[in-house]
């Protein structure tokens, strides 16, 4: 089989590509300013819960942006993509107007390009490695283009249902329907396996549905992918908790020859500070689940949610940004991010921070909550913040926050959303005997094969990595599918 380098080289050398490169001077390509993503106006969108903020590039904009890509012989961008999407190839197909070919190129390595184009932290991954950045220019908008091509395929109704190779009737079970589980299921179905996905909740999609809000990732996009899987023969069993409703042994007895555990990092962390159990203090998981999964902000939903007027969200990750922007949309007059480090250390995607600021979110960086106080009914009414400064770099390489002695401050609030990270969902580690589990509670797998200590159990995504990203979860699913197939075929 050809190596990745050989494939890159062969495609780069195709005549149409050479011709295209010559059609415009590299200098001219490099001098173009980066395209701007059309988006909803901040004062409008900060009151609209479900409308997507980014509107997507037009065909003209996409082609314009595609021309900025130099079609490098050594495309460094690819090394920044965890699944090594053939970036110049898909971008050059956009440049020549063959948007469907572009989409197909994406699908060679990514199961969910419409999702990843929207939610990948591109500025830390593919775009960080784009040659333009080294030349002190803005990176090619790889994420925008990826979204464009994938959306084009969907909007024009051109999503092809992959042809399964002949069914081999081997039954495979997937635990969890997040990005890891979905990509695994798709690949195994393509290889001819009889795949059933078991999901604990009443909706398919994992964090893509209950976590990431619609204004960033519309449910429709996730549903289209699920539909494709269904058409490929993948079965979905909702309301079924593996380890509770059915056990590992039950699955084995029912004839499942392999299991892929993609149960995510569902357990919310709290800070264990006084007042954290007051009414109005909740995890971002609870807040986002109520709004996204249970539709609690709609009048016709039975599920309630607090509509705080002065909301503090503790944390600086994507989840914190999603929570604070959601709180703003459902009525917060003041919506504040409280983060103990500075903005430079924030793990959230750059675009989310930018969008949040435009929407009127306040950023109290270098602040950390010490305690909360409630009113006579037990409802949170104010919080005490400790001011911080940056000290020496810590284990994560980021400068660590150090409290400034004596510098504290009370702030009035009526809702607090705690978003300081998640731990792996302990259900499977607790109920599958024989699994090797790390101190952090993640399932230990062989990194090359994603196989766990149990022969028939593979695992990937957040349950293996702790809170990570969609693209890494998806990549794990693909790798596990390839390896499980190899192992089963060798039998």
């Amino acid at each position: 089989m050809a190596t990745l380098q050989e494939i890159i080289k062969a495609r780069h050398g195709e005549p149409w590509r050479e011709q295209l490169r010559r059609s415009m001077k590299a200098k001219e390509r490099g001098e173009r300013p980066r395209v701007k993503m059309p988006e909803l106006a901040p004062d409008y969108r900060s009151h609209s819960l479900n409308e997507e903020v980014n509107l997507g590039l037009s065909e003209e904009q996409a082609v314009y942006e595609a021309k900025r890509c130099l079609d490098c012989a050594n495309p460094t961008c690819m090394s920044g993509c965890p699944v090594e999407i053939n970036i110049p190839t898909f971008i050059k197909y956009i440049e020549v107007g063959d948007f469907l070919k572009a989409a197909q190129t994406l699908k060679e390595t990514s199961a969910l390009p419409a999702v990843c184009g929207r939610v990948c932290p591109q500025e830390k991954q593919c775009e960080a490695q784009c040659i333009h950045v080294k030349m002190k220019k803005e990176a090619v908008a790889i994420g925008y283009l990826e979204r464009f091509a994938a959306d084009y395929e969907r909007i024009t109704n051109n999503i092809s249902i992959p042809q399964n190779t002949k069914s081999n009737k081997i039954k495979i079970a997937v635990v969890g329907s997040g990005p890891a589980g979905l990509s695994f299921a798709g690949d195994m179905a393509k290889k001819g396996y009889d795949v059933t996905v078991f999901e604990a909740l009443h909706e398919i999609g994992g964090v893509l549905k209950y976590g990431i809000p619609e204004f960033r990732l519309p449910n429709e996009i996730v549903d289209v992918e699920i539909n494709v899987l269904q058409k490929m023969g993948v079965k979905f069993e909702k309301d079924c908790i593996v380890g509770k409703t059915i056990s590992h042994e039950d699955l084995q007895q029912a004839g499942f020859k392999g299991l892929f555990v993609a149960s995510g990092a569902g357990l919310p962390n709290f800070m264990n500070i006084p007042g954290e159990n007051l009414i109005g203090v909740m995890s971002s998981n609870e807040f986002l689940t109520r709004v996204n999964l249970m539709d609690a902000a709609s009048d016709d939903s039975d599920t309630p949610v607090q509509h705080g007027k002065k909301v503090a969200v503790i944390g600086g990750g994507n989840t914190a940004m999603d929570a604070v922007r959601t709180a703003r949309r459902i009525g917060a007059e003041r919506a504040i991010i409280v983060y103990r480090r500075s903005e430079n250390e924030m793990p959230a995607r750059l675009e989310e921070v930018k969008h949040a600021k435009e929407e009127g979110i306040e950023f109290l960086t270098l602040h950390n909550p010490l305690k909360y106080e409630g009113d006579e009914t037990g409802h949170v009414k104010r919080m005490l913040l400790q001011k911080m400064e940056l000290g020496e770099p810590d284990a994560s390489g980021r400068r660590s926050p150090v409290p400034i002695e004596g510098a504290t401050e009370w702030i009035d609030i009526d809702e607090v959303i705690v978003s300081v990270g998640v731990s792996p969902n302990p259900l499977i580690p607790h109920t599958f005997s024989g699994l090797e589990v790390s101190k952090r509670g993640t399932i230990v797998v062989n990194n090359d094969t994603m196989q766990s200590a149990l022969n028939d159990v593979y695992a990937g995504g957040d349950i293996v990595r702790g809170g990570a990203t969609v693209i890494l979860a998806m990549g794990d699913g693909r790798k596990a599918a390839a390896e499980m197939d190899k192992a089963l075929q060798a039998k």
Partner: protein, 260 residues
């Protein structure tokens, strides 16, 4: 899916359902609960599995209609399907031969207590059940409880049935009379608080089954958290049963009012 095969009114507002859920029926144990959702716009609400029938593949729920969601559920009829039923959730009750056990149940709390009473009896305990309610019509499951109890003591607030008084009066009567090795209490939080205060006075180990607000029921959201022995616990995965003497009932009572 999750078809209702039997429905019976225990009292005006308390309904007993038999629901098809073969997978859950197979694995549930005393103390387990399910999360139920009625309709596409419905909430996820927890109910204890009060018993099950393996041959029919059904589980039993006893639901007291108090608010929007429980009333919606109680309006369903035989032949209707419950949109979602997921479980069994929570940890099963720890059952052994403790000796003499007083089971103190209030209102609809008697329903979730029934499987525990049965299991305790089968494990060889002497079981004395104290059932309490405001008035005669609200005493439920007396006959079923009687089947697995050595003695049933009825308490009503208004004296319309059994003894006049609160559940605590009934429990204290037993304590004053004989050696009690364990107390199990399930009912409104305020009732469990007072049972717990009473048994603490007499140093009788006590277990309470907590009915906090939940969403997912799998440890994902933290809505169900309570303070037990100074530590935060999630009722859905660490419970629902806890050492009552360690539970911060005042905090729990406060949190129960979050959406009222």
């Amino acid at each position: 899916m999750f078809k209702i095969v039997n429905k019976e009114h225990f009292s005006e507002n308390v309904v007993h359902f038999e629901v098809e859920a073969p997978l859950i029926a197979r694995t549930r144990k005393a103390g387990h609960f399910v999360i139920v959702r009625v309709g596409d716009k419905g909430e996820r609400i927890p109910y204890t599995i009060t018993s099950s029938n393996l041959e029919k593949g059904t589980i039993d729920l006893v639901v007291q209609g108090v608010g929007v969601s429980s009333k919606k559920l109680n309006e369903l009829n035989v032949g209707d399907c419950i949109t979602d039923v997921v479980g069994p959730l929570g940890r099963a009750t720890h059952i052994e031969n403790f000796g003499t056990v007083v089971c103190a149940g209030g209102g609809v709390g008697v329903a979730p207590m029934l499987p525990i009473i049965e299991a305790l009896k089968k494990a060889g305990n002497k079981v004395i059940s104290v059932l309490a309610a405001r008035t005669k019509d609200l005493i439920i499951l007396e006959e079923q409880v009687g089947k697995y109890s050595d003695e049933v003591i009825i308490m009503t607030d208004d004296g319309s049935y059994g003894n006049k008084g609160l559940v605590t009066n009934g429990v204290e009567m037993v304590i004053n009379r004989e050696q009690v090795d364990l107390c199990v209490t399930i009912g409104p939080a305020i009732m469990m608080k007072f049972v717990s205060l009473l048994t603490k006075k007499y140093n009788i180990p006590t277990m309470a089954s907590l009915n906090t607000i939940m969403v997912d029921g799998t440890g994902m959201c933290g809505a169900c958290r309570v303070t037990v022995g100074g530590q935060t616990k999630f009722v859905c995965v660490d419970g629902p049963e806890f050492d009552a003497h360690e539970v911060d009932f005042d905090e729990m009572l406060m949190r129960l009012k979050a959406y009222n």
